[in-house]
Symmetry: C2
Subunit: 426 residues, 2 copies
């Protein structure tokens, strides 16, 4: 990968250019708008028409039977089932710590105030087809929803000529998906947002997908809630002289193999480490089945920045706001305070990023493209809603009556003032 050695200011400028590149795709927007309108109008019939058109599949029924799911589970290798079960246990124990409590406050005489936290009623999970159908992502989407208490979890995934991926169906069974439909693309998102005769309308749609899926999610936002729009995978590694080049290189490649636009970034204060990692990546990448993808990512988006000291490395990484951040430094946990923007953080020499993709328990559905500035990993919090409530006695209201009517009248909202005063007309 390209090694850049420059002042922090110059590096920050380069990073800013990279993260601001967001394409505006008017044509895609238009055809997605049309697909959504047709699914609203014609329901299942429109969905089947689009499946024929885009996936070249003639569907009789959209629903995957319990039998198909059970058969796929039986056909899945036992070591895979066991690995999925271990992952489920770790993901569950981590996400249980995210559960928020309702609260109630009765400190003031005659006044009750509170906030009730309740699960969404139904959520939809989009699972891409082909090689991007990841069993691990099903666990990451479904388990937090289950812990939140969502009672209807609906999965959609494009039909596949040779049948659905068996490990995906096994993971859906293990995670506790309630129903599965073979619908893909924008038509799947439209179905979940508005409902068809077969596919139920849900309250929130999560899961990654291609540009049509992402655009459709953005368009239905407001009709339903959505998770963030996922971009290409990113890994940032901050490493000092004690890091092992072959391990740093392997970790960078683990994300580079995802996508030609994936972004592997190393920031180090050690020029010789930079060179050793670069050399190791060139050596290792040729041994990978997905070497073409990984090489493209290294060339398109990857870089190694050499900075003056480790504080600069954190400043630069905070500007990148990477999806994954490894801190390969001694006593890595002590840097937690310096990490401002990152989705998921891997501390120390042994916390290799794929540990988080599969097993440690934190979520792997994470903010990308610099959005870790404001977005968070998918979690239990994404599958609940809050409802606030107040109760005032007439005496309690009387004490605050004048303040309310004063503010209402300053805002020119006379009926607001009168609603309060109507309690004291007699």
């Amino acid at each position: 990968m390209q090694i850049i050695e420059d002042s922090l200011d110059q590096l920050l400028k380069q990073v800013a250019i990279r993260t601001n590149a967001v394409a505006n795709r008017e044509e895609v927007e238009k055809s997605v708008r049309e697909i959504i309108a047709n699914v609203i109008k014609d329901g299942d019939q429109a969905v089947k028409m689009y499946e024929q058109k885009f996936d070249n599949v003639e569907l009789e029924s959209l629903k995957v039977t319990q039998r198909e799911i059970d058969d796929a589970y039986e056909a899945t290798d036992d070591t895979v089932i066991k690995a999925l079960e271990l992952a489920k246990a770790n993901i569950t124990s981590f996400h249980q710590m995210e559960v928020e409590d309702s609260f109630i406050d009765a400190k003031k005489k005659g006044v009750i105030r509170g906030e009730k936290i309740a699960p969404l009623a139904a959520v939809g999970l989009y699972v891409p087809g082909g090689t991007a159908a990841y069993p691990s992502s099903i666990l990451m989407n479904v388990i937090p929803a289950k812990i939140a208490g969502v009672s209807r979890i609906v999965m959609v995934t494009p039909p596949q000529k040779d049948g659905l991926n068996k490990a995906v169906l096994a993971a859906a069974k293990i995670a506790g998906v309630d129903e599965i439909y073979t619908v893909g693309g924008a038509q799947a998102i439209a179905s979940l947002a508005y409902g068809t005769e077969t596919v139920p309308r849900v309250d929130k749609i999560t899961g990654p997908g291609n540009v049509f899926v992402a655009t459709a999610k953005k368009q239905v936002f407001g009709q339903v809630d959505i998770d963030m729009i996922a971009g290409p995978s990113e890994i940032g590694v901050i490493a000092g002289s004690q890091a092992v080049p072959s391990q740093v290189a392997a970790d960078l490649l683990s994300q580079a193999e995802h996508d030609k636009l994936a972004r592997p970034i190393l920031v180090t204060d050690d020029r010789s480490l930079a060179e050793a990692v670069s050399k190791e990546m060139d050596r290792q990448v040729d041994l990978l089945p997905r070497k073409e993808i990984a090489k493209a990512a290294m060339e398109n988006e990857g870089f190694i920045a050499v900075v003056d000291d480790i504080d600069d490395a954190f400043t630069l990484m905070n500007a990148v706001a990477p999806e994954h951040l490894e801190v390969q430094l001694p006593d890595a946990i002590e840097y937690l305070n310096q990490i401002k923007n990152a989705g998921s953080v891997f501390l120390g020499f042994s916390a290799s990023e794929p540990l988080g993709d599969y097993l440690a328990g934190p979520n792997h559905i994470l903010p990308t493209g610099g959005t870790a500035r404001f977005f968070s990993p998918l979690g239990v919090q994404d599958f609940v809603k809050r409802t606030q409530f107040v109760s005032y006695t007439r005496d309690a209201l009387k004490k605050e009556k004048d303040a309310i009517t004063t503010l209402a009248r300053v805002e020119g909202l006379e009926a607001h003032a009168r609603a309060i005063e109507s309690r004291f007309d007699d």
Copy 2:
């Protein structure tokens, strides 16, 4: 208002038609796209050009001086300042209960897992101009951000020929806004999302606005985070025979006066209450300064539904998912469990909705248009982000190594497996 008496099924169908009406405004989308592109390209110059074009104001400087803010505060009536201070105290004590804690878990040998909650660095608040500039909304937006720990709170508001609303500036000072710019419309949203020479780029934009503002917020979503897209105000009242018709009518009118598309809804099991409230509304509405608006809302969107029993009233109201819900029944708090979808709930005969608009402490920025199904009131949670972290020793990683590499290879991600194995090459 129209009184409907029908089966629950028929009522649910009518409600479904109402809530699904979402207009698609392609022209607005296009001109907003252009405004955003120009603000990205030309910064302040584009902003000033649009302010001249749309607001007919030639701006030298975009920034409101501290002097202007202090003068407005001094010029604001003392009773208003005191009412704002009381509101601030109640809003603060309520929102402090929303604060979430970071967590760390060290139950397993060699494994540390946790989630760090941190404030967003900078947020932008849009305040509409004219009569829709509400001091109370500034408190509702800013106080949760302050409690979350946001260090830079930026307000934007369209320039006004006769100067900015003094009570709005006073509220900004009381709430603790850090800087104010006179920019409105889509150009204001673009400025906050991308930054100009004068207006800083923020991480999240909140606050209501017209269709241009709402469309711009939707378009910049992903570049920054946004709060929900606000629609016309709604009030649902569930009332039994013990409710006082004049009070129910006054409460319904308090939201009807907001907007010609506001939606006042009463659901009752008492036909005679329905008739009395309808009569009272007709009488009271004529006494209001904003009677034209309130009458239009009553006609366009308002209705009174008479149902067989109170359980049906909750079923119907849950389908509406109103922004505000009053429960005017004895022992109202006992119905909390039956309320599935509502933004803010007012329990009992004295909890009149404007109490929540101004003073009780819960937020008044609430989900509308049926989105209470999945959106929540604005809160402290909206101004933080979560970062997850893990640390594993080599021994701890060794125990889970095989499960990770098994899952990586099932997904065809060889480089993921090798990253883990690179720790055990020796």
